[in-house]
């Protein structure tokens, strides 16, 4: 299965629960995740005290992930090593650095302009929380900048419980 088969998972993200550790207050996760914000070159996600970023994305239902796009400006502040973890909402920086990730990437130039990273589909079948850990950047700069992150895939269950309507209302 190709990575491009999946659609954007924006609708399934539980926005209030999205948490990005070590982001600057003025350059938060929404700048990279939300539609409209992430297309704007003047808005980006930037790390604060050091170059690492840990982004927890919770979904409002289980999803299957097939691809991930990480776009960033080329240069020293672009992310290099990216580790993905699934279903570990309490993951901290120390665990993220030491534990075995679900999948790990070293971003190339092509990846940074928006080519989707292909995920091992079988490992991302029932994801309720995706943690994106950006471990370091290319130039050893103090901060890391990310322009856009988008998630590709599909919901694990076809039925959206929230969309269920009361039966018989039309007839009544």
């Amino acid at each position: 299965m190709s990575a491009s088969a999946g659609a954007e998972l924006l609708d399934y993200i539980s926005w209030p629960s999205v948490e990005c550790l070590n982001a600057q207050p003025a350059h938060g996760a929404a700048n990279a995740l939300k539609q409209g914000y992430r297309e704007d070159d003047g808005l980006w996600l930037e790390s604060d005290t050091d170059e690492q970023l840990l982004l927890h994305i919770q979904f409002n239902q289980a999803v299957k992930l097939s691809g991930l796009v990480i776009k960033a400006e080329a240069g020293g502040t672009a992310p290099r090593t990216v580790k993905l973890f699934t279903n570990q909402p309490s993951l901290g920086f120390s665990e993220a650095a030491s534990e075995r990730p679900t999948q790990e990437f070293a971003l190339s130039d092509d990846d940074l302009v928006g080519r989707p990273l292909t995920l091992r589909f079988v490992k991302f079948q029932n994801v309720t929380t995706l943690s994106v850990f950006i471990e370091d950047n290319r130039g050893g700069e103090d901060t890391t900048r990310v322009q856009k992150i988008s998630l590709l895939g599909q919901p694990a269950e076809k039925m959206d419980v929230a969309a269920i309507k009361k039966v018989g209302e039309e007839e009544g």
Binding site: P16, S17, E19, C20, L21, N22, A23, Q24, P25, A26, D48, T49, D50, Q52, H56, Q58, P89, S90, G92, F93
Partner: protein, 401 residues
């Protein structure tokens, strides 16, 4: 929404009595107050308690929305040993990291009432780690031992952990009441501005009058608020009537004719009764009122302004000629109006003052509409109400005659 872990200093230093009753007890009061404020600010806020001194820092209560558990835990505290700040803060961070509700932001409130053993560099390193994990830290420094060194370290700590002004350092001097000092500090303020204090107690100094007319919350006491508003509107109507009277009197000599016309305009409501007499009555009353208003104002405003207008009408009518001699225009206007009214004496006007006053007030449709409009459930434009008023009006005028 916030998860808070309070780090309590239960070291031997807190036996000191420089804060009444003891440093430790003052701190316990402050923690109770803070926990109450936090849990009240949002039902999903949680508060936990951790002790810093003793063999090892100990989490007494993991973050919970249950205020009772926090208060209980504060009862059973023992004072022993020295505070271990660095490990306490890191344990607090772990407790926050494993909070149930990830929507909550993380906050540590650190009470420091003893000299800090860690050096500045260590503290800054911990602060950076906290900041990296999105933990805000409020620090309450109290106690005088090693104060300067403490302040310097804590200031550096706060500086390093602060992100978007979410962390604060409050130093409370000895001899004050710790909880009182904290109550007005940013530690008790919700992020975003509004304080916990006003909704919680309503007793915060200076915060009471903010936002409400007359300094009364209409939601707390609707009847009082309504009474205040009606009273306010009455006063406004009285003032506007007084202003109108002044303008009339200060106008040209023909103003009294205008007053007479006004009286005539008010008269038709009395058409059912003895027309001529009612007219006389009304005109006299108008004039007496105007005079009393004038007397009030020319008397340097010392007359009780809030007194109902009909009351001073009688004496004013008695001393009409003896009024301020300097006020020529008024005198002339009065004489002309007296002449215009013919032989009418002051006595019947005084006699009819009280009911006439009511009729006069009822005749002022604007004023009446404003009063009625302020009453709940009353529609001033209701035809039934209008009819009732008209009949009341004529009845009052008839009673006056």
């Amino acid at each position: 929404m916030e998860a808070t872990v309070v780090c309590v200093d239960n070291s031997e230093w807190t036996r000191n009595g420089d804060y009444a009753p003891t440093r430790f007890q003052a701190q316990a009061d402050a923690v109770n107050l803070l926990a109450g404020a936090k849990t009240q600010a949002n039902p999903e806020n949680t508060v936990g308690v951790l002790t810093m001194a003793g063999k090892t820092p100990r989490v007494l209560v993991t973050p919970t929305p249950d205020l009772g558990r926090v208060l209980n835990s504060m009862q059973a505290l023992e004072i022993e040993g020295e505070a271990n700040l660095s490990s306490a803060v890191q344990i607090a961070q772990l407790a926050l990291k494993h909070r149930q509700n990830k929507n909550q932001r993380q906050r540590i409130v650190l009470f420091v009432g003893s000299p800090i053993r860690e050096d500045k560099a260590t503290l800054v390193k911990i602060a950076k780690k906290l900041k990296k994990n999105n933990v805000a830290v409020d620090v309450v420094a109290f106690g005088s031992e090693g104060e300067e060194a403490n302040t310097e370290k804590l200031e550096a700590f706060r500086e390093a952990v602060n992100s978007g002004d979410n962390s604060h350092l409050v130093t409370v001097p000895a001899g004050t009441v710790l909880s009182d000092m904290l109550f007005s500090s940013p530690i008790f303020q919700v992020e975003g501005g509004a304080g916990y204090g006003a909704p919680a107690g309503g007793a915060e100094g200076g915060g009471v009058s903010g936002g409400y007319d007359f300094g009364v919350d209409p939601n707390l006491d609707p009847e009082l608020a309504l009474a205040l508003r009606v009273s306010m509107e009455e006063e406004r109507a009285r003032q506007s009537a007084a202003a109108a009277a002044t303008i009339e009197d200060a106008g040209a000599a023909g103003s009294s004719a205008a007053a007479a016309e006004g009286a005539a305009g008010a008269a038709p409501v009395a058409a059912a009764g003895d027309e001529a007499e009612a007219m006389d009555e009304d005109a006299l009353l108008q004039q007496a009122l105007a005079m009393s208003m004038q007397a009030d104002q020319s008397g340097g405003g010392k007359a009780p302004a809030a007194a109902p207008a009909p009351a001073p009408a009688a004496p004013a009518a008695d001393q009409d000629m003896a009024l301020d001699a300097a006020d020529d225009e008024l005198q002339r206007a009065l004489q002309m109006s007296m002449a215009g009214e013919g032989e009418a004496s002051a006595a019947p006007a005084a006699g009819g003052g009280a009911p006439g006053g009511v009729a006069d007030m009822l005749g002022d449709s604007d004023y009446l509409a404003s009063v009625l409009g302020s009453l709940p459930g009353v529609d001033p434009s209701d035809p039934a109400l209008q009819g009732a008023l008209a009949s009341l009006n004529s009845g009052a005028a008839g009673g006056g005659s």
